[in-house]
């Protein structure tokens, strides 16, 4: 698993943006790996164009074959098997959906039998929503195209993330760090290399890349990975492998314990203190830290009610409701359409966070902003529970500039009328994951370093970074 052949791995650090890198890597593998990085970059574009033309020609060929059953597949096939062989998995990996779409369309086009090449392009309508077009990323949903450097633990984790088995900023962060621990454990530094130089670029990077292809990394994951890279780079060259690995794994454990486990405990206690007898707490979707705070308050014997607001398509609140109902709490559950009916009864709103922006805005599950807005209109205090690991120096003014777009097919209800929405022209489905809540809707942020107003987010973030660095 730990890859150590220099030629294949070499181009990857050279090309920073992921798709470009994939392409160069692909082409390099396809042709001779002997070309220098510089040269391959130039010829990469060329090759790409050529490969595209070949592909189109091949497709046309396939069409002809299908449509007319004439064995015309003569001129190009010389190259065909070769390109097919090396491209197949890769292409699926990077542009899995577009490929599969085209493949699905083939029989339809075949039945038309005319003008095989030209209609291939306009056939596929762009189903992405204009506002969010910069955010679309295709998700990897199978391990088929994963590069061989990816550790099995990470492969599994990636799949779990992409189908929301592991969902939520904190859960993903912890799971990622645990998986990376196993990656580090199974790592051996190749000869004539030092761990601090080799591990990050050649081992961790492919893992991270794979994970982010499964689902874009959360901000807390980004923070943690930055920290981990820093830790790795700090490892002394003279330290033996085993010791260095052990110290890294210990550091990860400490990190998880300090930044997540203990932080959660502190926040839960502090939030539970805010809950009084007779309170009606509203929360949106599911946040592990809110759940913990509620359960803690309940265990302390406080009598309060919980209203859980939820929304399609993830219905995360249902899990929270199930967990709370199980321990005998008084829970009311409604979807976002019932929000304005229930807000009057509420005394406090507790929200979880995906991230806190430096301008004090809350980046959280889509719909959170609506809850905060309603609470604000009804003069109910909005309290955000957030570990400092989720703080970021990024800023956001609206939910469109930075977001994550989940596959639109998640909105389709099985058996419902939407099943064939792809066939309808000019119809688009959009499924963003997060929204940005304005800072004025938030009265307080409970963190492990204290309760602060949203304006103090950048301060806390800086303090946290300084202590880390």
């Amino acid at each position: 698993m730990p890859s150590s052949d220099p030629p294949t791995a070499e181009p990857s650090p050279a090309a920073a943006p992921a798709p470009a890198k994939a392409n160069t890597a692909k082409q390099q593998k396809g042709k001779e790996p002997a070309t220098s990085t510089d040269g391959s970059k130039l010829s990469g574009a060329e090759l790409k164009a050529r490969a595209k033309a070949e592909k189109a020609a091949r497709r046309a060929q396939a069409l002809l074959e299908k449509g007319t059953t004439a064995p015309v597949a003569a001129p190009i096939p010389g190259q065909q098997p070769k390109t097919e062989g090396q491209k197949g998995p890769k292409a699926q990996h990077k542009r899995g959906n577009s490929m599969s779409l085209e493949v699905r369309n083939v029989p339809v086009r075949g039945s038309q039998k005319a003008a095989p090449v030209v209609p291939a392009e306009p056939k596929k309508e762009d189903k992405t929503v204009e506002f969010f077009r910069h955010l679309y990323k295709l998700r990897t949903t199978s391990i088929a195209g994963a590069s061989k450097e990816v550790h099995p633990a990470v492969l599994a984790l990636g799949l779990q993330m992409s189908n929301y088995t592991i969902c939520g900023s904190c859960a993903r962060l912890v799971a990622t760090l645990q998986a990376f621990k196993r990656v580090i454990e199974s790592y051996t530094t190749p000869p004539q290399n030092s761990l601090s130089r080799h591990l990050t670029s050649h081992v961790l990077s492919p893992q991270i890349e794979y994970l982010s292809s499964c689902r874009p990394l959360s901000i807390s994951m980004g923070n943690a990975i930055r920290w981990l890279k820093l830790e790795v780079s700090k490892v002394d060259v003279s330290v033996p492998d085993a010791e260095a690995k052990k110290s890294l794994c210990d550091a990860i454990d400490v990190f998880i314990r300090e930044r997540i486990t203990f932080a959660d405990q502190v926040i839960a206690r502090s939030a539970a203190d805010k809950i009084k007898d007779g309170d009606v707490i509203m929360t949106y979707a599911k946040s592990s830290i809110v759940q913990r705070a509620l359960i803690r308050a309940h265990e302390e014997g406080k009598k309060f009610r919980v209203i859980i607001v939820d929304s399609r398509p993830l219905h995360e609140g249902k899990h929270l409701a199930a967990a709370l109902v199980k321990i005998g709490m008084d829970v009311k559950y409604c979807l976002i359409n019932g929000l304005s009916h229930n807000i009057q009864d509420v005394t406090k709103v507790l929200l979880g966070a995906h991230a806190m922006m430096s301008n004090g805005r809350l980046f959280s599950r889509i719909g959170t902003a609506l809850v905060a807005m309603e609470a604000n209109e009804a003069d109910k205090p909005v309290i955000v529970l957030c570990e400092t690991i989720k703080f970021t120096e990024r800023v956001a003014l609206d939910s469109i500039v930075h977001n994550e777009i989940a596959p639109a097919d998640e909105l389709v209800i099985p058996g419902g009328p939407l099943e064939k929405w792809g066939d309808i022209k000019k119809l688009q489905l959009c499924n963003p994951m997060y929204d940005v809540t304005p800072a004025d809707y938030i009265q307080m942020i409970i963190t492990e370093s204290g309760n602060v107003p949203p304006t103090s987010v950048p301060v806390l973030h800086r303090l946290g970074n300084e202590s880390q660095g």
Partner: protein
């Protein structure tokens, strides 16, 4: 297909069909149970059903008195409203019909009143001619007609109405043309000057056309006795026809209302705008389609999960779900989807509203009912949309037919909200949750008037603060509480 459906699920179409044949009382009971079982639901079908039923009630009504008709309609209306108090259009339609009957009756009364003034006018000359009493008995019935005619001033219109009246009177088929009878009467009897003055106004006297039964008599007592009965008999036919045509006008209005509203679309939607709407509504869809004839724009549709999302999805796809098909009239079901009209349609969940609102230029909402304060009842979720729009300073336009405008002014808005099936939210399969979880599924939202910028009705565009005037124009104050007898004076 429809015949299959009719067997199992009664709906508006079936009801209207049965209305023609079934006895009245069973039709009323039928509609009440359909309303109760929500087999007729949503504003438009309810309004259509109510209007047709009232038409039938009036048609079948054995006329005695205008007051009785009003009472009868109030009584039927009360039963319908009680069956489904949250379908406020039922009450609206009943009020419209009541108001219309009152108008007709008033018109009729003023006509009568002018009659009576004219009789009094005529009374003075009549007294002078009281010596001709022996003649009265002879043509007692007809004696009134000239009088009546004289009052109506010989214009063409009144002539026609006079004709109507006479048609009502079966035995007097041999009656000659009115004008001539009138003039001849005046001439023959050597009437006083005032009388002849009337004739001067009406037409040139033509003595040659003297009718065989010229009826010279007009004794006062006789007139009052017989003519009153006559007047009732004649005016009822007249009034009943008027009322029926009035109800038919209301039905026509219900048919055309969406197209009338759509006519304003191009004033309000411009190129490259981003319009957000909610749920699926025929009014909004027609409105947008009309705008799409001229312009290209983007529509974002919030799906209104969990109550209306299927209808929304179906509307977006372009096929009407079977459920909806049964509710709506067959002609309306085949409306092309917005995307086919060249509009880019983006379907999003309700939760995304805040995220997307910063890019939206206009919010267009459909309503379930509009109340006099300018607030509205709409599908659940409309309130947060309107509020998010307010926060982003995005204008909110409400598209609604006048028939949805209700004069009721509830002070406690929760009473207007209907709660739907919680099974739509937590399926009954999830046993543990179903047992212990309180699930809330409101179907409607109350949107206060300050969140709405503009109403577009079939009468034009109005500010929410102006709606009370439209209410006053359409409903009579005495009908507002018709369904609550205890509140009536």
């Amino acid at each position: 297909m429809p015949s299959l459906q009719t067997g199992y699920a009664p709906n508006l179409g079936v009801f209207l069909k049965s209305l023609k044949t079934a006895p009245l009382e069973s039709s009323i009971e039928n509609l009440i149970s359909l309303l109760k079982r929500r087999q007729i639901r949503n504003s438009r079908p309810c309004a259509i059903a109510t209007a047709h039923l009232l038409l039938r009630v009036v048609a079948k009504f054995r006329w005695t008195d205008i007051g009785n008709l009003l009472q009868r309609i109030q009584e039927v209306g009360q039963r319908l409203v009680e069956a489904q108090p949250r379908e406020m259009v039922v009450g609206n339609i009943v009020r419209r019909v009541l108001g219309m009957i009152r108008d007709e009756a008033k018109e009729d009364r003023t006509e009568d009143a002018s009659d009576s003034t004219s009789t009094s006018q005529l009374g003075s000359p009549g007294r002078e001619r009281s010596d001709s009493g022996d003649l009265r008995t002879e043509g007692g019935v007809s004696s009134f007609s000239p009088l009546r005619f004289a009052t109506t001033d010989a214009s063409n219109l009144s002539e026609a109405s006079g004709d109507d009246i006479f048609q009502g009177r079966s035995p007097l088929t041999s009656r000659p043309p009115l004008l001539t009878s009138h003039t001849s009467y005046a001439v023959l009897n050597g009437v006083p000057v005032q009388q002849s003055m009337f004739n001067l106004l009406s037409a040139t006297p033509t003595p040659s056309s003297t009718p065989p039964h010229s009826s010279p008599s007009h004794g006062k007592s006789k007139i009052t006795a017989t003519s009153l009965a006559q007047r009732i008999a004649t005016s009822t036919r007249d009034l009943k026809a008027e009322v029926i045509s009035g109800i038919e006008e209301i039905i026509d209005e219900l048919d055309q209302v969406d197209d009338q509203i759509a006519a304003y679309a191009q004033e309000h939607i411009h190129s490259n705008e981003v319009v957000l709407t909610h749920s699926s509504s025929l009014s909004v869809q027609k409105f947008l389609l009309k705008a799409a004839e001229k312009r290209k724009f983007t529509v974002i549709i919030a799906e209104s999960y969990p109550n209306d999302h299927e209808a929304t999805h179906a509307a977006v796809i372009g096929k009407v779900s079977s459920n909806l098909e049964s509710d709506e009239m067959s002609t309306e079901t085949f409306l092309k989807p917005l995307s086919a009209a060249g509009i880019t349609v983006i379907l999003m969940t309700d939760a995304t509203i805040f995220a997307i609102m910063s890019r939206v230029n206009k919010v267009i909402l459909a309503t379930h009912a509009v109340i006099a304060s300018g607030g509205l009842i709409a599908a659940a979720g409309a309130r947060i949309i309107a509020k998010a729009a307010k926060v982003h300073k995005t204008p909110v336009i409400v598209v609604s037919g006048v028939y949805k405008l209700s004069p009721e002014y509830p002070f406690e808005f929760e009473s207007l909200i209907e709660y739907g099936d919680p099974g739509n939210i937590i399926g009954y399969g999830e046993g543990a949750l179903v047992d212990h979880l309180e699930v809330d599924n409101p179907v409607y939202d109350y949107v206060p008037p300050d969140l709405v910028d503009l109403y577009i009705t079939n009468l034009g565009a109005h500010a929410p603060s102006y709606l009370y005037r439209i209410v006053a124009d359409h409903y009579k104050p005495e009908d507002i509480n018709f369904h609550k007898p205890e509140l009536q004076f």
